[in-house]
């Protein structure tokens, strides 16, 4: 069924709180996964799946008449799985199988296990924007007036393929495409500025021919507003890029402000501490 749009910001914040609980409990349960970036992007994905996107939770891989979302930084899979389950693509109970043998919730999202809501495998970085462009071109050829959203990490901008795609989209006026870059300033080996500086990422995209918007990715009001602005800016012959400032680990005080929680699971005590900071709003799975 077509997902109803939620416009109440407080309601969206409640969902985000539950999604953050889901992320932590999944990663804790398998003692494996990537909580930092998942927590940081939680508000964005809630804003996308519960407010901005037109999509149908009785999943059809082709996505005719729907807005599409592609996760390029596939390691924040616990976030995507939670949002898909909470949207109604599959039972939230299945979140308990995350990263375990025989699960459809693989370490990185895949079409291979036929999990509803997933249209492309992701994990090896740098590929999602190209895929999103292909899907956007396909929608144009089929005269569909839907949007395609792609989320990438800022560390991922190190990959050469990203820049092949960045030069392609304006050349072909792919103006039904919104690329969102999670600017949390962190990657595995440390701060992005130290590992491989992105310098002025917004101006780089602008120089390639993109319209650039800015968003506070951990502010639900701003997330909803900026996604609406991005959709409004579509259809003018120019692809849209959103520089989304987030805090890795957002919502859990001791996980914020560091790359250390990129790919580490919390222990018993840390989980209890983290969950105490996040109200259980929709009921744990």
């Amino acid at each position: 069924m077509v997902k109803e749009r939620i416009r109440d910001i407080e309601k969206l914040k409640e969902i985000a709180s539950q999604v953050r609980r889901d992320i932590l409990r999944q990663v804790y349960s398998s003692q494996s996964g990537h909580p930092g970036g998942s927590l940081g992007c939680a508000d964005l994905l809630v804003a996308l799946f519960f407010n901005a996107m037109r999509h149908n939770t009785s999943f059809n891989r082709k996505g005719e008449g729907e807005d599409l979302f592609f996760l390029s930084n596939g390691h924040i899979s616990p976030l995507l799985y939670s949002v898909l389950a909470r949207s109604g693509y599959f039972d939230v109970k299945e979140l308990s199988t995350f990263r375990k043998l025989g699960s459809r919730l693989q370490g990185h999202p895949t079409t291979h296990e036929h999990l509803p809501g997933i249209r492309m495998s992701a994990g090896s970085l740098g590929q999602g924007l190209s895929v999103g462009i292909g899907a956007a071109l396909s929608k144009k050829l089929k005269m569909e007036d839907n949007y395609v959203f792609v989320l990438m990490g800022d560390g991922e901008q190190n990959e050469g393929q990203v820049w092949e795609a960045v030069q392609f989209a304006p050349h072909y006026k792919v103006d039904n495409l919104v690329a969102i870059i999670d600017v949390n300033g962190q990657q595995i080996d440390g701060p992005t500025e130290q590992v491989m500086s992105n310098r002025d990422l917004a101006n780089k995209y602008a120089a390639f021919g993109w319209k650039v918007l800015h968003m506070d990715g951990n502010n639900m009001v701003d997330a909803v507003k900026t996604l609406a602005a991005a959709k409004n800016a579509c259809g003018n012959g120019i692809p849209i890029a959103i520089m989304m400032k987030t805090e890795m680990g957002a919502g859990v005080d001791f996980m914020m402000g560091s790359h250390k929680w990129h790919g580490v699971a919390p222990n018993d005590e840390q989980l209890a501490n983290a969950l105490s900071q996040l109200p259980e709003t929709l009921g744990d799975y």
Binding site: T110, M120, S121, L137, L141, G160
Partner: protein, 318 residues
């Protein structure tokens, strides 16, 4: 043995181009992508007739593979085209994750495979692509032998749902298969029946195998010649049936000895019916600049090498 003649020589890439022209006219879902090699891929007519269904990607093959994968989602059938080296080894991870693992209906159609690319030399002469591609779960790997077979294969793979690697070449070679043939993916073509040795060839080596078999016949050796155009899935039944009769095999391909058709055959024989096998293939080396014919002779990929290998493998079975 059955006699094969030809009236003209054509390049297999032109067979691909002719196939794309047909597809452009009959299948509205077919889309072509190219990485700045339109002239080399012979897709000018498709582009002229279907400009809205052609996507020039520039010299950016990784992005091209990703876009092709994205195009499949709503039901388009993208043919991603470039040279074999740039459509395989350069973009292996993109093919692995976005095409094969994601099971996307992408057709990777590549020209200038192997040594016969010629003067450009080893940087462009990929001899490892069959191996790389056949190792990907779910990938179909096809290497047709002449213009007509390439044209037929090009059209046939549009009707098959799943990722395909279609490999063809640059030089003009004899056109000896039927113009109106039906191409069946995964089905071997019995070129000529024989009793003494099975010569199993793919791509440009099929004509060489026929030439070799004719000379062997003059010496009283009756070779069975089989064309394996689909290296994966391999027509195991056809090969096992042949070796049950001949009890020895020569495999012939324009590819590294390691990882190609020969290795697929060897695996099959080890598991089912162990008979001697000789490889006609590049012996684990890179190529070099030269004319296609000179290179094929120097690297032992011609009728002479097939004859030698056949005689050797017949001795080994005794």
């Amino acid at each position: 043995m059955k006699k094969f003649t030809y009236t003209e020589k054509k390049d297999t890439r032109s067979g691909f181009g002719a196939g794309m022209t047909e597809l452009g006219r009959k299948n509205p879902n077919v889309v072509v992508l190219c990485a700045d090699l339109v002239g080399s891929l012979k897709i000018d007519t498709f582009i002229k007739e279907n400009p809205e269904r052609f996507i020039q990607c520039g010299i950016a093959e990784a992005n091209m593979i990703g876009i092709a994968a994205g195009l499949t989602i709503a039901g388009h059938i993208p043919y991603a085209t470039t040279f074999a080296n740039f459509g395989s080894s350069r973009v292996y991870d993109q093919i692995r994750q976005s095409v094969a693992y994601s099971n996307k209906n992408v057709k990777i159609a590549v020209s200038h495979a192997g040594l016969t690319l010629g003067e450009d030399g080893a940087t462009h002469q990929v001899l490892e692509d069959i191996g790389m591609m056949k190792m990907l779960p779910g990938m179909t790997v096809i290497n047709p032998c002449d213009y007509n077979q390439t044209k037929a294969a090009t059209e046939a793979i549009a009707d098959y749902e799943g990722p395909v690697y279609l490999r063809f070449g640059r030089p003009v070679v004899p056109v000896f298969t039927d113009a109106d043939q039906k191409f069946e993916i995964g089905k071997a073509w019995m070129v000529s029946e024989g009793t003494d040795v099975s010569i199993i060839a793919t791509g440009h080596l099929v004509w060489e195998a026929i030439q070799g078999a004719e000379k062997l016949e003059e010496e009283g050796i009756i070779a069975e010649v089989i064309n394996i155009h689909t290296i994966k899935p391999l027509d195991e039944a056809a090969i096992l049936k042949s070796v049950a009769k001949t009890r020895c095999v020569v495999s012939a391909e324009e590819h590294n000895r390691i990882g190609g058709l020969g290795d697929s055959i060897a695996q099959l024989l080890i598991r089912n019916d162990l008979v001697p096998q000789e490889y006609v293939a590049v012996d684990d080396s890179f190529g070099e600049s030269g004319k296609p014919d000179e290179l094929m002779k120097k690297y032992g990929l011609d009728a002479e090498s097939i004859i030698k290998a056949a005689k050797k493998v017949i001795r080994r079975k005794q």
